[in-house]
Symmetry: C2
Subunit: 201 residues, 2 copies
Amino acid sequence: MTGDARPARRGRPGYDLESLLRVAVKLFNERGYDGTSMEDLSRKLGITKSAIYHHVRSKDELLRLAVDRALDGLFEVADEAGAAPGRAIDRLELLVRGSIAVLSDRLPFVTLLLRVRGNTRVERAALARRREFDRIVTDLVKQAAAEGDVRADVDPAVTSRLLFGMVNSLIEWYRPRRGDGAELADAVCKIAFDGLRLPTS
Amino acid sequence: MTGDARPARRGRPGYDLESLLRVAVKLFNERGYDGTSMEDLSRKLGITKSAIYHHVRSKDELLRLAVDRALDGLFEVADEAGAAPGRAIDRLELLVRGSIAVLSDRLPFVTLLLRVRGNTRVERAALARRREFDRIVTDLVKQAAAEGDVRADVDPAVTSRLLFGMVNSLIEWYRPRRGDGAELADAVCKIAFDGLRLPTS
């Protein structure tokens, strides 16, 4: 993902928009978005506030860029899963695996997204996109239940919340190392889809 | 839980230690612990700071009382589950159900606990107790795997994190209504233990 072609506007040496954004997200995650000022950010970067405003109009714009990085990844995955052939339960598994890949690749951005509480317009917009994503998951669970592949004795909205509750909880402890994202996705899918109870043979 | 016999020290009418603590925890959850000052709390309560200091020595003491309310509940449940007869997988299920009951009964306290990041001595002590609880869960998963009841193809520490990741994610959306905690615990146990995939009959 670091290789993405994003236009870097002119700025002080060493800080294009991308590296500025990464430092800002790290700081927001450490101190909370509300608890971080542009002053804090300029001190951390060792550049003036006006050098920051060369790249972005406001702290809010940094937040928007950051949460959209996470959300865009999740919606790409949802589109891919939605377009896949086969049964809904398989599309649901694709969506879970893809979401874990996004979480692993863009961990600081997803972490920030999941802590957003909705105090500003940017935050409320992010929450609205999260709800839209939840609806996609719930619809897949409903389809899979209608196809007889997913248990119907739990409300589909509850199932989708529990499933992504498990996925999202990864931000609390998972620190990606090269290539271990797929192994973790296997673990999540084994437990979420087939349960931790060993099937009696 | 509201009926617990806790000594209420003398204070202004309407605020014993218990009601002070509840307002403080609500504020901490809304604004973040770091983002809430004793000044904010006194304004919210409509009493002076010295009236607050009549009950507690510091903001830190409020945090300690609050997170211990959550942790004490979880450890009581762990003790009960650990002492139960039968197979480890059944004790693990007891622990999950008991933890959801604590979460439901003491939601604001558990919410605050799960957001603690470890910046102060009180927060680090809370994190140490959380790790101790995680060890208890992991040990139960190991025992259940050794007894052949829990899948051995996922690391027990990962299984216990995913299981409680699902449980803890409830704080994000669950708003308890009388008596629905047991129904939610059923949903969590069905999905976590038996999976969301419908068994092919």
